[in-house]
Symmetry: C2
Subunit: 654 residues, 2 copies
């Protein structure tokens, strides 16, 4: 029996790798294809390769580290990767500052043309200064001037802007620019700044946060940034974060704070890069699933983890940014779109807004694939949405060699149906280190097409390309080199020339034959592969999605043939091969031209609400018109699910 | 020349006293009539007699103090009075906790009957709990129930109430009471609490803070508390506080914080005493002069100290209590009435509201006497207000033996016109320790009536009852015992039997005679008295007020004979003898029955705005209708002032 390997889990990028024997951390991480910074080349002097050892697994810091790391860092398990070895299974956290390139994060999608009408507008004023004969208060002087010069009525001034006002007025010779939002003054700046008007739109995902810097005058996205959601260190999926946050108020505060900090940092970076101050950001909009929405606000989430999973509010929220500690203009607000239910968040509404699904004619489906997949169907102007627990399989979780869409991930797979040998494509053409969602989907579809798995998802032992790991689990190796080697060496193992196999395939194999065949398979551990358990995970995930679609159709009393359009939103959805989505039965068999991929529609929805009052109003209307269907109370749920986990028959493959 | 005395200034009660030689602090303070606590009788064990030595004048703490006082207290100059001696001129601060009784503070005045219609109302709800078939969000469930059960529309829920909501709902079996303010939920409590509804009304004065606990259902004042404004330690008058707060942002924060703390403490005490939690206080209203209003909000005040003294806003303010750190109900608001100008604050509007001046017929004057005296005149439905810098003379400042209305203060004076001997009455019948505003006013009026001072305010040397202090300043002693002693002993001094004097009085005295007379006066230092400088202070103060009244009359083109009513508001105003107000010429000579005293009208105005939306609206209307007249730009200002500082002629005395 081979010696057991050392497993290294890397957060927040969600990658796992194995090493054979104790090895230097920096080198191991680099070998695994993760681009961690290292300027001094491992001497321990540059301090760039900081990593955090989780669960108290950090060794004592050495002298070099005591010099470079702060006391607080040391207490929190931060060490220099170059100064330590991995000697046992370990989970580490690599902060963004230690990574030499950002993870591949798609932050925006397709935009639609809309009228620019931001909720905050700027007005330049040149005021008469107060005299003993005219001692009107500063604010009232501004108010009257707004009325007479711009015909703008103002009722209120932010309490902190009131504090800043007298100094700005007097230092700028009573020439100011006033930012007005819903009859309230939320910012006063010296001189004329009416040509500068900026906002931030945020799509707060479970895994990643997309932050857009938007010009409120032109409606253009000036810059964007994708960062990992640091809450991953408290739990990869939503449920484990809900559990963590429900433990006590301190933990709720903690899990809120990390995401507030991450957004603040992203805003600072975007502003610095574009020559702006954060205090010039007039407004922020934010969308996210209901748990992310609640955690961002520091709202309790315990009830989101317990049936019937109610949200705390369905309504949109206008909140002073300072109430949650987001740093923008003095009196600036954050606008949060409505949420529909515990599992249908404002990101879903943003998607419906961005895609225009809400007023499409015919029968149209919008689907945002993720850990939870939300699906909306508009049919005869009625809008219904479901949420399916599709699981994080398509994000690489629970898949043995699964990983997120980071460099080195296998993202495309084609299997030669003759030889059973795969061709792969990796992100950034790096050496393969794992397989991401689109790669998994491709692999399954190709395995079906090449007749290597059957419609129940079982490996066909006699397909001639199956091998087994050291525990005897069947798997299909995704590395072309593996097959070439074996075939060239003419090794006696399950992997043979397809032509040999074809003959055997025609014979009816007895159970005994099969057992013997299994025994004869050569071991192929430690190679990037898809195993039987991985296939089951994908069956469950795609089955859940298909069930959601089927129930939406049944509820609207229409057939899949009546579908006029399927819009796939989300970063993952834009990478996948739509043909394969149909081939694995995730979607019903509709003509491919009916399917479109629009990218991160949620962030576009957030941006639309940022630059347009009308779009904000529409989002709220969507919130009210969207009917939530709870799948589990639907009478035919179990039937649909049972059917949906199977794959299409070979003849259905397109 | 007599040995100089040691001067002790006591804050925040604004008292000054002298001791002849170094003496124990506790004993000296007690001897001066200040009721400082002392349980152990000066052994230094009970720690009750804590005082703070100002300006770094504290000596090193002794062992006993090191045991009892905290490190922080010691750093801040806090010591036990019983353990130290006064050896030189010293300013001390006695915290309220060390005083055995509260200073005499009138906190409420006459109330008018108004309809109870508070801005916050409570509604009891028994909700259906969420199920998988009805997963409406908690807030929306409440909103819908408010609509269906009580026909109440709610648009919004306070962000922090949203945080508290899920737990309260689930721990109380979905039976809750919701407090609604302007379509916003500001508090959710478990079970039915609709029979408990409370608010706080605050009149924030320069010297004192009146805090009223009000039942919002009955409109009754349940309890009240008067506390000294702790900002006194940063400056006795408004201008010195403005100077302090303008030094830097930290100092502004500091002077704001002490008043926030004092109000919070008063709320806690009132709540504890009445079996309430501060979190049950649904709303607070606050009135005060413009500087107090701004400092409470932490607004910059520099411009209030510079011509033309503009306020930052004239408008009423609705502010979340938490924004300034006032602890009441989770989402509770503070409502601040409008201010008219830099020297016409919301306390003035509250007075106009409380007295009903704003809709009186005829020509009516409302006057609130203080450091600044604000005067309003309503005439033909037009409202004009002025502010006069009457100075703090009537609060005892700048008067040699002046003090605030605390126990031992002379509050009433009658002088026998035959013997020139005074009769006095002190607060709480304690031994006299000084003279407060009403006593000063009485004394001046009686000196005029007894012909001891002339209409220019000069002492008549030959009046037979003048003596001089050790610097030769003329003064009139206010202690009856002094005269009895001298007369009984038949001492050769200015103080003689009035009958002797009458003869002399008939003769025309030459200047030489007068000089000799002055020399012959006996010394009478260290006795509570009124001196020439004190009289000048009062002339300036009352002259300023009279000037304000005259200019208001001139502006309205009416004569003092047209005045239908004069309402005197404020704590000081309710103690004074209205006859004497006319006799010193502070008011024009109107029939006494036209003058009424209504007590602290500002706190009543604050309370009215607390219990009635309509009254709040009226206060805002008053803010808009009130025309501020700046006295100094009025062409006849100097003429009026020159005339007003004189006293009436003897024949005008009533």
């Amino acid at each position: 029996m081979p010696k057991s390997k050392i497993k290294i889990e890397v957060e927040p990028i969600g990658k796992r790798f194995f090493i054979d024997e104790p090895a230097n951390c920096l080198k191991s991480i680099q070998d695994a294809g993760i681009e961690i910074k290292s300027v001094c080349g491992g001497k321990g002097t540059c301090g760039k390769c900081r990593i955090m050892f989780m669960n108290g697994s950090a060794n004592e810091p050495n002298e070099q580290e005591l010099k470079i790391l702060s006391k607080e860092e040391i207490e929190h398990g931060v060490r220099l990767a170059c100064q330590h070895e991995f000697t046992e299974d370990t989970t580490i956290y690599i902060p963004a500052s230690s990574l030499s390139e950002e993870q591949k994060l798609q932050v925006i999608g397709q935009e639609r043309d809309i009228k620019i009408e931001p909720v905050v507008n700027k007005y330049y004023l040149k005021l008469e200064r107060a005299t003993l004969k005219d001692v009107k208060a500063d604010f009232n002087r501004i108010k009257d001037s707004l009325k007479s010069t711009h015909s703008i009525t103002v009722d209120n001034i932010d309490f902190r802007v009131l504090r800043e006002m007298p100094k700005i007025l007097r230092e700028n010779n009573w020439e100011i620019t006033v930012s007005v939002r819903n009859k309230e003054i939320i910012l006063i700046e010296g001189k004329d700044t009416t040509d500068k008007s900026y906002g931030i739109a945020v799509d707060l995902g479970t895994t990643k946060i997309a932050v857009l810097l938007v010009d409120l005058l032109s409606g253009k996205t000036i810059d964007k940034k994708g960062v990992m959601n640091p809450q991953i260190s408290f739990g990869e999926d939503v449920m484990s974060r809900i559990d963590f946050a429900s433990e006590d108020d301190m933990k709720l505060k903690q899990i809120q704070q990390v995401v507030i900090d991450a957004i603040n940092e992203a805003i600072v970076e975007l502003c610095n890069k574009n020559g702006l101050k954060v205090s010039e950001i007039l407004e922020m909009t934010l969308v996210g699933n209901t748990a992310m929405h609640h955690l961002f606000l520091g709202l309790p989430v315990r009830q989101l983890g317990l049936s019937p999973f109610p949200a705390l509010t369905n309504d949109s929220i206008d909140l002073k940014a300072r109430e949650v500690g987001i740093n923008i203009a003095t009196g600036g607000y954050i606008y949060l779109m409505p949420v529909v239910a515990g599992f249908i968040g404002s990101d879903h509404i943003a998607m419906i807004l961005a895609t225009g699904l809400y007023n499409m004619e015919g029968n149209c489906i919008g689907i945002d694939i993720g850990t939870n997949t939300e699906i909306a169907l508009i049919s005869q102007s009625k809008l219904y949405s479901v949420s399916t627990a599709s699981g994080p399989a398509f994000e690489g979780a629970h898949i043995r060699y699964g990983m997120r869409a980071a460099p080195g991930a296998i993202e495309r797979v084609i299997i030669d149906p003759q030889t059973c040998v795969p061709k792969i494509q990796t992100i950034d053409d790096k050496d393969p280190v794992g397989i991401c969602g689109s790669g998994i989907l491709d692999a399954i579809a190709e395995l079906l097409k090449a007749n290597i798995i059957d419609k129940r998802g079982k490996f066909k032992l006699d397909s001639g390309c199956i091998c087994k790991d050291n525990l005897g689990n069947l798997q299909y190796v995704l590395l072309p080199s593996y097959y070439e080697e074996r075939i060239n060496n003419n090794q006696d193992c399950g992997v043979k020339n397809k032509q040999d196999m074809t003959q055997k395939d025609t014979a009816q194999n007895s159970d005994t034959d099969m057992e013997e065949l299994k025994k004869s398979l050569c071991p192929c551990d430690d190679l990037i592969s898809i195993n039987q358990k991985d296939i089951v995970e994908i069956q469950l995930a795609k089955g859940a999605m298909r069930t959601g679609i089927e129930i939406l159709l049944e509820n609207a009393k229409i057939d899949f043939k009546d579908i006029d359009k399927i819009i796939i939103a989300g970063a993952f959805g834009s990478y996948i091969d739509t043909k394969n989505v149909i081939n694995i039965g995730m979607f019903p068999n509709v003509p491919l031209k009916k399917i479109s991929q629009v990218g991160n529609a949620a962030s576009i929805g957030a941006k639309m609400a940022l630059i347009s009052k009308t779009q904000r109003k529409i989002a709220e209307d969507i919130g009210r018109m969207d009917n939530y269907l709870e799948l589990t109370v639907f009478p035919t749920f179990s039937d649909h699910f049972a059917l949906s986990v199977s794959f299409p028959s070979p003849e259905e493959i397109i």
